[in-house]
């Protein structure tokens, strides 16, 4: 990429032109990366880290398919520039299972037939994990409202809500 004459390099972080060093912990692995400032977290995960479980749906923060956990909080990775996240801990769908065991939400989505095409599912599950950590959902209505940032065009909503409610009821830990 061309740097305009006289354009200033980022000052506090690096002397390098064009890329900025960023440390991220992604699914438990420490990563030191040199990132172009316009790279979204979503593109970094999919294209750079080859973690293609996180999906690009609308790329505008409207569908929720790209939802990941940033320092434990669910956010749309398509609207986050990766350079702003230095030091952050990122958890994607690939990081939820442990030691060969599905995460309770993954198992619940299977048990409740909570997906059809599956494209929104990684975002749904990361969002549900964020919802459980937040601790604000106490009823089925709460779950419906607090999952409203995740669109499912197959219309699997009733089963998605069933799956989330089951894990909530079991008191799954954040």
């Amino acid at each position: 990429m061309d740097q305009a004459e006289g354009a200033l390099a980022p000052r506090t972080a690096t002397e390098a032109i064009g890329t900025i060093p960023v440390s991220l912990r992604i699914n438990g692995r420490d990563r030191r990366l040199d990132i172009e400032p316009w790279t979204t977290l979503l593109d970094l995960l999919r294209e750079g880290e080859r973690l293609t479980g996180t999906k690009k749906g609308c790329d505008h923060g409207q569908c929720g398919a790209c939802t990941v956990l940033i320092d434990g909080k669910r956010m749309n990775s398509c609207l986050k520039l990766a350079v702003t996240l230095d030091g952050a801990e990122i958890t994607t769908i690939e990081g939820l299972a442990s030691e060969g065991e599905l995460h309770p939400l993954q198992q619940a989505f299977i048990d409740h037939d909570a997906f059809q095409c599956g494209y929104c599912t990684p975002g749904q599950i990361c969002s549900a994990q964020g919802l459980i950590s937040e601790g604000k959902a106490h009823s089925r209505e709460d779950v419906r409202e607090l999952m409203s940032g995740n669109i499912c065009r197959c219309g699997a909503y009733p089963n998605i809500v069933d799956a989330v409610c089951e894990v909530l009821a079991k008191g799954a830990k954040a």
Binding site: A13, I20, K73, L79, L81, E141, S148, G149
Partner: protein
């Protein structure tokens, strides 16, 4: 997205110095700015990342108010115990907006400074005086179901999309800013602008000025309040019309009334003379209707949005009743009672 320089501001002075230059944008949560950059509506040459500035606290103010840091997220603000208990109108309005993911990223300062969701503003193939001064307004005579009925001009009929700001207008908040010429406080009613003949100016910030906090006054209206939001789907949609009402009722009569309307103008719409109609009145349908008519005085439809005028009138009456009865609108159970 265009290419740009990126600077991570280490302190407020550094940020403000950087931010005063042409075509520089402050970056906080990024939920609106990054989207606009993807659409080529915003094409900054430099981003000043302010996320490391110490502006995310929520603190008590002397005299009983609360200071909301500009970098506190919308979610952390709405769920803060003090906000939820003492300013439920604000918490309710925040939770009526966007999605949980967006509220986790979006900041309070960014909420104030988000741009309109007018289709023509977003579509660079069409004219828009806000995006490209002098190019015209596609919405006038165009597709304008979501547009303004109050305070519009012949250059722009866009609306401000925020829910949070409607509650802040009703509460009479104050916006603290810092900039090249020092710090100042802007009363909320003077923060956003009407489009007039400079529709590209959404607010009265001067070049380089940065929102640092929002101060809530001591009077919290935590008993008689409501935030009623009407939209095309029940969650995760911008308001067609929304109403924030805050009442102080003493001895069965209204001692103070605040009515702010969202989705109808380039800023949250308040009409002090309409509110004063209610002063000294007992809560009741006739008084509510009189106030609603006064709020909407001068309302003009653009064709597709004509329905907003009766909708807003009815929403104001309904919201006044909800507030007077101390039965605020639930943001989970969307049935309007």
């Amino acid at each position: 997205m265009n290419r740009f320089d990126y600077v991570r501001a280490g302190g407020l002075n550094e940020a403000v110095r950087e931010g005063a230059a042409d075509n520089v944008r402050y970056l906080a949560g990024g939920t609106n700015l990054i989207d606009l950059m993807k659409e080529n509506v915003e094409r900054p040459t430099r981003l000043v990342d302010i996320n490391r500035l110490p502006l995310s606290a929520i603190e008590e103010l002397d005299g009983g108010g609360l200071r909301l840091g500009a970098l506190a997220t919308n979610a952390d603000t709405a769920w803060d115990d003090r906000v939820a208990k003492r300013y439920p109108l604000l918490a309710s309005a925040i939770l009526a907006g966007a999605s949980p993911q967006l509220r986790n990223a979006a900041t309070n300062g960014g909420n104030l400074n988000q741009r309109t969701r007018c289709y023509y503003f977003y579509d660079t193939a069409t004219p828009c005086n806000k995006r490209e001064p002098g190019s015209g307004c596609g919405a006038i005579g165009g597709v304008n179901r979501i547009h303004a009925i109050l305070g519009a001009s012949d250059q722009c009929i866009a609306t401000h999309p925020s829910d949070m700001c409607v509650a802040l207008a009703a509460l009479g908040a104050s916006v603290r800013v810092d900039g090249p010429d020092g710090a100042r406080a802007i009363p909320f009613a003077d923060y956003h602008r009407l489009p007039g003949d400079e529709p590209w100016r959404d607010n009265n910030l001067q070049p380089g000025e940065l929102v640092t906090a929002i101060d809530l006054p001591a009077e919290d209206f935590s008993t008689h309040y409501t935030y009623l939001k009407l939209r095309d789907r029940l969650s995760y949609a911008f308001a067609l019309v929304s109403v924030a009402v805050a009442l102080r009722i003493e001895g069965g009569t209204i001692a103070d009334a605040r009515i702010a309307v969202g989705g109808v103008a380039h800023k949250p719409w308040r009409v002090p003379t309409a509110e004063s109609i209610l002063h000294g009145e007992a809560p009741g349908q006739n008084a509510f209707l009189a106030a609603a008519h006064a709020v909407l005085e001068g309302a003009v439809g653009q064709g597709e949005n004509d329905f907003k005028i009766p909708l807003a009138r009815k929403a104001i009456v309904r919201a006044l009743r909800q507030a007077a009865d101390a039965t605020p609108q639930s943001q989970t159970d969307k049935r309007v009672a």
